[in-house]
Assembly symmetry: C4
Homo-oligomer: 215 residues x 4
């Protein structure tokens, strides 16, 4: 994908964040790996004001290399993830409400739905508390996701990070993470949900990742 195409794609994907109810005002952002750097949302800009040109290019330490605007204050986290996980081509960050409610309790989102086994291959893990500003958040994301099939992580008292081979795949994981976080929340309000067995989770995940969709 050319640089111009990637900027247009990234802008379009950002508009999905408010449409899907994952963000409020200017919070939340998406990045795309771009050669030896990344493209990311500018800081504090509302989604309706984003343009392909407004996307900011940084190196893999989150330092701006192109663009007039300051990059998202989460740029260092995105950069850390790209630097340590070479298969990742896109990263999404949100404070989507149901997933963040689990995170505020420092609880993983339990795998009680076949849709969750399909997409996440198990629970969505919860990382520890980390302050924004340096590499702490990125390090926690990489530490936890490196040992997991899940492309999503929730971070204590904070929100959600998702990864994927492309920004669109990471967005899908962010959308599905909020969806299953909501249903799992509702299920826990009604009582004690039935667990899925590890064997069934494995069967569902294997099928979904090899048979589902168009090949």
């Amino acid at each position: 994908m050319s640089g111009a195409d990637l900027r247009a794609e990234l802008t379009a994907l950002h508009l999905e964040l408010p449409r899907q109810g994952l963000v409020t005002w200017t919070s939340g952002n998406i990045s795309a790996r771009d050669g030896e750097g990344l493209l990311i949302k500018p800081s504090g800009v509302t989604f309706e004001d984003l343009t392909p040109e407004s996307m900011v290019r940084t190196d893999l330490h989150g330092q701006r290399t192109e663009g007039r605007l300051s990059p998202s204050s989460d740029a260092a986290t995105h950069a850390y993830i790209y630097r340590h996980l070479p298969h990742v081509g896109g990263v999404v960050h949100t404070h989507s409400p149901y997933a963040t409610a689990w995170a505020a309790n420092a609880r993983e989102i339990p795998c009680i739905l076949t849709a969750m086994a399909d997409e996440f291959g198990g629970p969505i893990p919860c990382g520890g508390f980390a302050l924004i500003g340096g590499e702490e958040i990125g390090a926690e994301v990489v530490r936890v996701l490196a040992g997991h099939r899940s492309p999503a992580i929730i971070l204590q008292n904070h929100g959600v990070f998702t990864i994927g081979p492309t920004p669109r795949a990471a967005l899908k994981a962010a959308v599905m993470a909020e969806d299953v976080a909501r249903t799992a929340y509702l299920a826990h309000q009604l009582g004690q949900p039935q667990p899925l067995s590890p064997a069934d989770i494995n069967r569902l995940y294997d099928r979904y990742t090899t048979v589902y969709g168009q090949r």
Copy 2:
């Protein structure tokens, strides 16, 4: 209805799924009986990308007979239902959140609302856990719905299937199932809802199915 009309109708009905909040990303699908086979959504395609031509025709074992794309991974389930329930002309499948929350608890949705007695004639039953891939899900749907007035079933840890004489009737049942699942959820959070007596449920159901609407 001609084949072209049925494809257009099926495409239009699919767009109602996200509009009514029943689906997320590419999950959920609708099928229509079509002679000795069925028409169904292609697998893993987003709703906004659907066209009449993209709908896939399969036989009544879920094997593709027309179309370039792979059919929904739920095609075998739809096919099983049509094969065993000859009065069914349309089937809808969703993971709508409130109904699925009841399903995650393996609890039927209790009939505590007059609107539920009208449409479902009693509780919405919950079938057991079944893995996707073969005929297990279809068999569970048919086993449970054969003994019920309800056109909707929830499946443990999974989601919702609804049936109807037409795809539009099955869609109505899916919309109403989520609506009553939500109100029943809210009612159970507030306390112990009042039951409806079986006699009142029967009176409401009989009236709704003979007097309501235009004749």
Copy 3:
């Protein structure tokens, strides 16, 4: 207002019901007093298919006097209300989810919000269970609302009826009833809400009904 204007107004007001999230599929209806009769939604028609001409005229016993379509199956209830409450010019009926959740518990919606004191002058009362078909529902609505300042009533296991001097005023009451039912629900999930004193409720109601808005 001329008959044609009233039909156009009634059609426009019906479109607010799905916009405000008060109805699902074809449920819910609005009527307007029209001389010695009333105009009401036809039965089982979706909101987007309504036209001014499709509205059905009935007498004050709910028997159709004009129109090709069958009137709402709630027409007898609306008619009973107009017959017994001469100040009523409009009636709205919904199954809006939060208000109906209180109704499923046979609990009035307690007056814990200043916005509720303003609009309803106290709790929204809950009437007993009554079957559709005859005059039982209308009689219960009139029996309860005759002794109340509230323009809204919830009916056990069923839904909401609101009244007003005009259909638009009744619609406002239906919208506000769901709004306060939701906030009161959320407040009760968080703990034991603070009561409002009867004296404060009276002060708020008196001010709202004499000072608020344009004179």
Copy 4:
């Protein structure tokens, strides 16, 4: 900003209130300081009917000085705030449901989210009950917010007031207040959320107010 520009801006900001789900029917209002007075929404007018010309100018005691319509019944409260807090250029008032649910319990919204530390610098405080009509509400808002970093306050049994250097900043605070009120509500339904330490709250707040966004 010229008077005409301010009226256009104020009208546009009001349309965000229903778009963001903060208001119902005619409730809720925004004002802007305008020289020795303020501009505010007219009382009881629906949001879609607002025009720049319909905005009402009052003095800093809430008495109308320009405009045909009566000002919002909350004008005296807005005026009191401008009179006592010279740094305030905009005020927003809503009954947004999640924030108001906390207010109905007379409970501050606890600071359990990094997004909340960023925007509010701590919990959102809850003021005592005050009747509309005089200066009681304004006095309670000023008394509480004078000792707080939070630009938002909830008032017992009532709703939300937010302040900012501009009406747009106050609107952002109202949007974020409802967002964090919702996530905090969900988190408390799931269990006992993890607290944020005062030191971490300070670090987050300091960073957000000095580094975030475009400079």
